[in-house]
Symmetry: C2
């Protein structure tokens, strides 16, 4: 039930506000070449849009600013994805020119690219450790009592744990243990490791290994997986340059939110497929009421792997960010899959 002219004006106003960060008045809209009606007409239209809840004023006689409802409408109906210039596409590709020897590095670089090109903050969630499956397990002895237990997963992720083994243990025993583990635990999801260890392995172990109890304790401990998420964050400071965050208190509270774990939960609460936008209070997390969150996902060979997120002010360059996050997540998927 918005007239074409109202749609047009709403779009103009959001676009204008996004770059200027100042409330937009009727005069400044009327000045544009593509607007052929007077400030007074515009005032009337804007008053209507305000009445419908799409716009707000910061004070009685100020210009207008989009409300959250306004942004939502804009994002849902007026957002025309922007094309990246060839230069920019080239620059992005350039960031991926080098060979990546670790998957983590690839993800980290993606976060960097995204934060640099959007000028907002990028957060990448890696695959959940718990969902991976064990591919191979290995023990390296460092000295008489210490060693490193290495766990390689099907996705090529490597976890390592410092272990202290009982003095009584012999080198052959260690080898035996590792063989048993590799034999019995291949392709078991990490979250099941401990359970399997207790159920299926303890029997075999008891037969072959001296000092059974101590060894089991040691393994028990080493196979505890904590770190539930891998997080790569880049461009935290970008947000500080935004005019809406010139207040030191806001800066502190926002930075603290970005450091914390809650932001990860917020991101994980986004639908797990496709591109999604949460504007201001649509986010459930306190502290980012004035921010918008855009997420999409990336994968590796068809398998969903993790989430890409950009967080910036509500007054965000939505078209550009949408295009960028989409492009970058595709490049990442491509790179991971090949």
């Amino acid at each position: 039930m918005l007239t074409d002219r109202q749609l047009f004006l709403l779009q103009l106003l959001v676009n204008d506000y996004v770059v200027s960060a100042e409330p937009v008045g009727s005069r400044s809209i009327a000045k544009r070449d593509d607007v052929h009606f007077s400030p007074a007409t515009i005032r009337n239209e804007l008053a209507d849009l305000e009445e419908m809840g799409f716009l707000e004023k910061t004070h009685l006689s100020s210009g207008r600013v989009p409300s959250e409802k306004g942004y939502r409408f804009y994002v849902d109906h007026l957002l025309s994805p922007v094309l990246l210039s060839e230069d920019e596409v080239g620059n992005i590709r350039h960031a991926y020119r080098k060979k990546f020897s670790e998957k983590e590095e690839l993800i980290r670089v993606t976060a960097q690219v995204l934060s640099e090109f959007t000028n907002y903050t990028a957060i990448m969630l890696g695959p959940e450790l718990m969902d991976m499956r064990l591919k191979h397990i290995q023990m390296v002895k460092l000295n008489q009592t210490q060693g490193v237990l290495i766990i390689v997963t099907d996705t090529g992720h490597v976890e390592n744990k410092m272990v202290t083994f009982p003095k009584s243990i012999r080198a052959e025993d260690i080898e035996k243990i590792i063989n048993i583990l590799n034999d019995k635990l291949e392709n078991v999801p990490l979250y099941q490791l401990q359970a399997r260890l207790n159920k299926e392995i303890s029997n075999v172990m008891r037969l072959h290994i001296r000092d059974y109890n101590r060894v089991m304790n040691m393994l028990q401990e080493s196979l505890t997986m904590d770190d539930p998420e891998q997080i790569f964050c880049s461009g935290k400071n970008n947000i500080l340059a935004q005019p809406e965050f010139q207040d030191v208190k806001k800066i502190i509270s926002l930075l603290n939110v970005l450091e914390g774990k809650e932001i990860v939960h917020e991101i994980m609460s986004m639908p797990a497929t496709g591109l999604h936008i949460r504007i201001g209070r649509e986010n459930k997390l306190n502290g980012i009421e004035d921010c918008s969150l855009i997420t999409t996902t990336y994968s590796m060979g068809g398998e969903h792997l993790g989430t890409v997120a950009v967080i910036g002010p509500k007054r965000m360059a939505y078209p550009r960010v949408v295009t960028l996050i989409d492009t970058v997540s595709k490049i990442l998927t491509e790179n991971l899959t090949k």
Copy 2:
């Protein structure tokens, strides 16, 4: 040649300024119970101290503030190390209660403890990767063409590299290669790996392995070590709460410095033994002219491993930080060594 009274007043003034962050006037000093002379006398003394360069005024009729020379003198001659309360020692120990399965985690937690207890920013430098020696090397095949190369060092650090191998390669070949590498490269410093590979290994390899060239290329690439330093930083945001950084521009520039690599070089330029303090412009790095840097080192079984640093405003609680950084680095060394 400062009189006792001047020493006393300088100490009082620094202590006062450190907690209040306000220029200190003669009246407020005279009010103290342990001061038995009048504001006028104090003014005379402070004027002398100022003339000698230990104090400064922010404007003509303001109270006094320590100059860098003043801080330096304070740190060198007046610093009385503070004792931690039993509660605090308990709290610190408490942070280390859990078992650490990775050395990195232990260092990370130490950074956290230090930043929390000092309320400044803690930066820990891990051991230089390049100085470590190879303990064991291992390849895990993920699928037909991809695998993970795992490098374990003598310090128990684990590096992993994604590799793509030529299709022609056979499982036995991989095993042979790894055996050769382990045989020839044990205890070789990481920075020599590539050179050794070319010199000593290529001959053996040529004899035993088909598709020699491709394999060598693959290994060549995998044994390139980049990441020269491990950095753990905690409490970046603590500094923001300090009254001297209430200016958004300062915040941004300081945070950018803390993100950057230069701060690592600055820390590495500190003497490699004992506890050291650099005040304000004594730091060569632009952007931390208003900060002080305190560093010491930690080790593992007698072997120097890395550096602990705290960065805060020049107006820093030196006695407390010195005690804390010392305590914490000892605990870390203890934990690593045992």
